[in-house]
Structures are given as structure tokens and as C-alpha cells.
Amino acid sequence: MLFFTRWRAAAILITALVVCLFAVPNFFPESTVRKWPSWAQRHIVLGLDLQGGSHLLLEVDSNAVRKERLQGLADDVLRELRAARIPFTGRAIHGNSVEVRITRETDIPTAMEKLRALSQPLSGILGTSGQRSIDISENGGLITLTPSDAAVIERIRQAVDQSIQIIERRVNELGLVEPTIQREGADRILVQVPGLQDPSRLKEILGKTAKLDFRMVDLSMTPEQAIGTHPPQDSEILDGEKGSKYLIEKRVLVSGADLTDAQPGFDQRTSEPIVSFRFNSTGARKFAEATQQNVGKPFAIVLDNKVISAPVIREPILGGSGQISGSFTVEQANDLAILLRAGALPAPLTIIEERTVGPGLGQDSIMAGEHAAYVGAALVVFFMLVTYGLFGLFANIAVGVNVAMIFGVLSMLNATLTLPGIAGIVLTVGIAVDSNVLIYERIREEVRTGRSAINAIDAGFSRALATILDSNITTFIAAAVLFYIGTGPVRGFAVTLGIGILTSLFTAFTLTRLIVAYWVRIWRPRTVPI
């Protein structure tokens, strides 16, 4: 147990040294570290509860994705059947399916063929998975089309990916520093913005879908009449500013997807804040057509199903640009421009969890953590010295290296340090000492039974190591489970506890033994001063 070849000793020392060196970048300011080579730049990331910032968990509204898919499918069915000149009735969305009834029995095979073409194979992990995107069935002339579950899941996944991109753009526009935006689970997105203290504006920006449509106002009846009876098939009632209601056609003339730019500005005549926009060539063409065909009639600018304004088309707009005014404040105009530039979210996002920590609390937490760590370490060091004397000193050195190694490993992994994480490190100091205590108590016992100094030390190590392994593994299992089920700060605790156990196993098995071995070799003691 006490025999170390030179190679092994060197290997142990070098491993410990290298791991500790990884902790070094943490002590230098950001600016200096940036100049170092990339492999040396890994450092610990402070959790949001230590540096302050916002943590937002957003959920994609999968129902909205489903509904939109069904609506798109209904539109596709209409198009296909009209193109094939097949008369039909009762095209409607029922639950999760689109249903349509074919009037003539003879048309049914053709109809099925055309509609089957709508379904596409879905790709699995290794090419096509054999599943199709739509399940089609027919029963006595009634054709039912249902998007398959796999297709819906795929849609949601795409929606999440798209949303992440759009969120990135929006967050960048707000000028926020180093945000983390990542997918979490099947339909959630995690947005973490360090240093952000008031996330209200961010939440507003993320909460808006920003779907912009240009549609015609339906003048066939007044909105009040439509509410009273029943709006016509292709129109719907939408709210406008200040509780007013409009009857708007469902058909979209131009949509925000065709915008190339949107800028806040001020109206030339009234000086109120407006947003001026520009379409790409497709959008410009559609806009020109729409305005040409409808001079003199009002058209509605609809943002997220709310009518922002409904100006009358005075002349055809061929240049593909225009402006939106709608009693905005300057900030609202600004935000709308940001939203339009970044693009519309494919589905609404809801904030299901928010944790924001102000910088004041963050600073306090860091100081409290440091304080506790220093005091705890000092107490333990003192106690070990008093109880085990010289060997206590060895244990303290080993624990010191242990803590340095914990920081090193955390740096290597770019792990996040939270306040519970600091608590974990302090706890690890207490637990790490245990390994050494086990060894020393065993040595004491062996000495009492009359072994010689060196034999006692040797026996102490060999007997104790199996126990050390067993006992630490149980705590490690608890830490592993906690890592798996925990989030945020709690996960930070699990990480430091787990890493602490691993490093303390390493130092107990190697470093303490090494120190004692060398001490024995140099001093050749007759008695063990323990």
C-alpha cells in the first residue's frame, strides 16, 4: 500500500496538477482570459442565482400547431377537389380530422387518389420510416383525413426549432448579452439571459406571436349584424382598438412572411409613431394586385388576430412599401418593428416558469457562499490538526487539493456554479475528510494491537479503502438521482456533490497515501504520531 514507483507517483501528481490548473482561468478577468488559447479558456459559469439574470421556460402551444395543421389540410382538400372538379359537401374540421363528403359515388376513387397524394412519407432515423403524414379513410362517401401522430410531433418539433431561431433574432434585437436559448424536452424552450433584471419587456416580446396579415374588410354586412346572426362562411369577427369590432375576410392577401424590413418612424403629417415596412418582390406583387383591385375599399392590417388599423385604399400601392399606424407609443412602434423583422412565431409561446434574480441578491449570495466556505474550511482544518496532528496536516493538504480539483473539473466541464453548489462544496469538504479519518482511525487501531509503525500504516490503508469506496458510492447514487430529477440550482448542487465525491475518492486513494508514503520513506518513523 505504501509502495509507489516513481512513475506512479509522478502520474498521480501530474494528474492532480493538471486538473487543478484548469481552475486557473477562473481567477482572471474575462478580458485577459480571452487572449489565451481556446483550450485554456474553459471556466466555471456562474448560475443565475449568483450573477443575476432571468430564466424563462417557454412552452410551444401544441394545440395551436395542431389546429393550424388541420386548417392547412382543409385548405389543401379544397384546392385538390376543386382542381379535379369533384363536387363535395360538408367540408369541415371535426376534432382531429378533416371530413368531406363526396357527392357522386363514382367520384370517390378519384377523390381518394387525389387526396392520398397529399400524404407524404415521414422520415425516420434511417430514411423513411414507413409512416405517412396523413391517415385517410373512406366510409360511404365520407372521407376522413387525420394527420398522424408522428406527423404532428414532427410539426411541433419543427415549430420549436423555428421558434428558437425567431427568439434568437428577437433577443438579439433587444441587445441582450449572451443569452442561452435551447430546446428542452419535446415542446419547450429555455431562455436564460444573465444580467437581465426586468424581464417584462423580454416577456412581452416573446409572448407575441406577431403574425401580421393584410386582409380585406367584408362590407356585405355590418359587424353588429354578423354578431347577431352569423358571419358569412369566409369571414370572421375580429376585435380592433378600443373594443371596436370588424368583419374581416378570412382570406389573406399578403402576410408578414413577405416583409423584408420594418422600421419605426414618425408619420409625416401627424407626427405620431408609426412602423414603415417594405415587402420582397412576391409580397410587393401581391400587395400591388390587392390594392389595384380594391381601390376605395378598406383593408385591415391584422396583427395576432387583432385589427390594428383599417385604412381605405386610396390608390394602388405598387412600390411594395407602406406604413402602419395605430396609436402606438414610441416603444410600441419600436417593439412592433422588432417583431416584424424577426418574423412571426409559428405558434404562441406561454411562459410556464420564470425565475429572475436581481444583481443585488446575486452579489449577496456570492458573498454569503464565500464566507461560509472559508469559515467551514477553517473550522475543519483546525479540527483535523488538533485531532490528528501531523497526519491531520496531510489530510488538510489532501482536502485542499480536493477542492482545487473540484473547481478544475467544474471548469473543464464549463459547469454552472449555483448557491446550492457552493453548499455542496462546503459539504464535500466535511465528507472528504471522512475518508482520511477512516484511514487514520484504522491506523490507530492497528497500532493498539501492537503492529509496528509501518505495518500499522499499511494495514490501516488497506483495510480502510474498501469501506471508503462503499460509503462514498451510496452518497454518489443520491447525487446522481438528484442530478437527474433536479433543475437549475438544485442540479448545481448535485453536480458539485457528485464531482466532490469522485475527487475525494481519488485523493483518498492516491494523494494521502502518497504523502504518507513519502513521509515514511524520509523519516522512517518508529511510532505513528497519531
Partner: protein, 396 residues
Amino acid sequence: MRLLRIVPDDTKFDFMRFRRISFPISAMLSIAAILLYFFHGLNFGIDFVGGTLIEVETKGAADLAQMRSTIAGLHLGDFQLQQFGAPNDVLIRISEQPGGDAAQQEAVQKVRGALGSDVDYRRVEVVGPSVSTELLAYGTIGLVLAIGAILVYLWFRFEWQFALGAMIANVHDLVLTVGFMSLTRVDFDLTSIAALLTILGYSLNDTVVIYDRIREMLRRYKRMSMPDLLNASINATLSRSIVNHLTVSLSLLALLLFGGQAIRSFTATMMFGVVLVGTYTSVFIASPILIYLGVGRTRQGEPEGTEAATPVAPPTAPSAPNLEPAQVPPPGQAAPRKARDLAAADLSGLAGSGQSSPPASGCLAPARLDLSGFAPQRPAAPATAIRDPALQPAGL
């Protein structure tokens, strides 16, 4: 240099004697804790029941009454307001709003609007219904999973009685800690689950050290009676246990005093779990329970055989005076804590140890451990089988 010796060498304290007291006490405390949980309830934090938590710092001392009426005026349902650490630190907790996740955000907006910019928002946490149900599920699953995983691991390393004994003792730890948390109404949130898991891991740590020593002794001293053996193991590891508990307590004390208000509930719970309960159960529950689970049943002159041999195997007839097969509680009867069970099991323990009373004074013990200091076990009057002189091992 005189080093600090908290525990004198060669202690010979008879721990096993207390098992008749410790088991009933533990049973009562556990029942009390369970009752507390059901009737007094835990102070669930927003992590598990949803809601909003806002910590604000007011300029100057906080006027709680005024803040309370302001927020009451917002009609947000149940809410709590309390001082949190410093006198100008206020913690506002608003219960979950009906209306799903979006409604929680609205509530925050309203509060921000009402309190205005006079206060500094140190922390805002909003947990909607979807996340809170998940966290609760994960938390419970995590605890169960951890218990299961550790049980499996211990089963590998030791025998099933050890695994079961450790689990009983440590679940008992958790139960008492939950009772403590219920009594003190500390916030029960995700960090509390972290504390519970850490207590579990750490307390098992302790138990495993003792079990390791017991296993070593079982191998070495094949004829020692169980209570003696357990006492010897505990006494041998006593010094290490005390020192270790002291170091961990020192670390936790530093955290408790200096770690700040944010993790106070965490550190207080850990302190209770690790220091008070962990030590007690490892010594007074986890070890004696091995007797009740049947470890070392075949002790009394019968060589144990390999470690893998289950200690409850029926003894071979000729040389093994296992005297009370009828009185052995069936293995796996995991709760011999009620008084009448104690009486039955106790008899068997005593009866067994009655056999060894002569040898305890030194025949068996090899040179290393001097067991002469142990009080000889009480002669077991009730069990008639012992009287049979033919069964007394010769030469002991």
C-alpha cells in the same frame, strides 16, 4: 504533543442494551412524524404547488401592513407577506392563479404595477401549474428511485439483511426529517428534496461503515454472539463516527451561520438530518435490526462458512445448538419494533447470547480484541432448551 481524543480508545459501551428502548422510541417518533405530515402538513413551496414568489427590498424599513393592503386590493387570492432576513427585505408569496400559466404572469404584472419602482426586485419566481406538477412528480420519483438504487447496491455488496436493515434505518431517518420539516414549517421545495437525498446518502455512508466493520467481524469472530459482535463493531468505529460527524457538523454550521437566508431551510434540514438523526439511527437502529433480521442466527460455535451463506439457513444438526428455531422471527419481518414483538425477539436474542456468556470472557477472542470488558449477557432463564447440558459446547 497531546492530540485531541474525543473518544477514548477501547471504549466498551454496550449499545445493544438500548435496543429495547430505542426501537419503541423510534416507532413512536416515526408515527408522530407521519401524523404531523398528514395533519399539520408540509409548507409546500411554489416549486410544488405553483404560484409566485417575489422578494423585494424596500428603501428603509418595510411597512408590511401597507404592502399587505396594497396587494390584497389586487384580488389575487391567497397570499403571504413576511420579513425575510433583513428588516427591509420582504418575501411575497402569491398562490397559484386559476387560468393556467398565462394567469401567473398577469399576477406578476399586477404586483409590479402596484408596488411600483419604490422597491428593488431582488428575486421573482413564477411557477405555473404544468411545471409544478412535474417537479412534484419528479421529486417523489427521485426519492423512491434513490432508495431503490441504494437498496440494490447494498444487496450487491452485503447480504439482503444488511440492505434491508440499512434501508429501514434510513427511511426512518427521512420520516423523522420530514416530521421535523412539518413541525418547523420550513419551505418544502426542490432544495428540500436535495437535502433529503443528501441526508439519505450521507446517513447510509455512516451505516455502511459500521456494516463493513460488522461484516469483517462476522468473518473473523465466528463464535461471538451477535450482540457482542455488534457492540464490538460499533465501539471500534465509534471514534471515526464521532470525528466524522463533528467535521460535517462544522461545515454545516458554517453554512447555517453564514450561508445566507436563501439556503437557510436547506442547511437547517441537513443539520437535523445528518447530525441528530443520522448518528442515532446508525448506532441504535441499523445495527440491532440485524439481530432481528436474523443475521448471525447460527452463531454459537457453528462455523459460518462463506460469507455468501445466508445466516438464516437452518443449522446442521450435530454441532449447532441453534436453540430457538421456533422463536426466530421470519426473515424479512421488518418491523419488530412493537413491544410484544420485542419481547419475542428479545428472548431469542437473549437465549442465544446466554450460550455465549462463558466464552465472552476470553476463550474465543484472539489476541487483538479484548472482549473481557463486556458485561456477560444475562443468563436466559426462559428458554428451556438451554438447560440441556449436552448442548453446551465443550471446553468453552
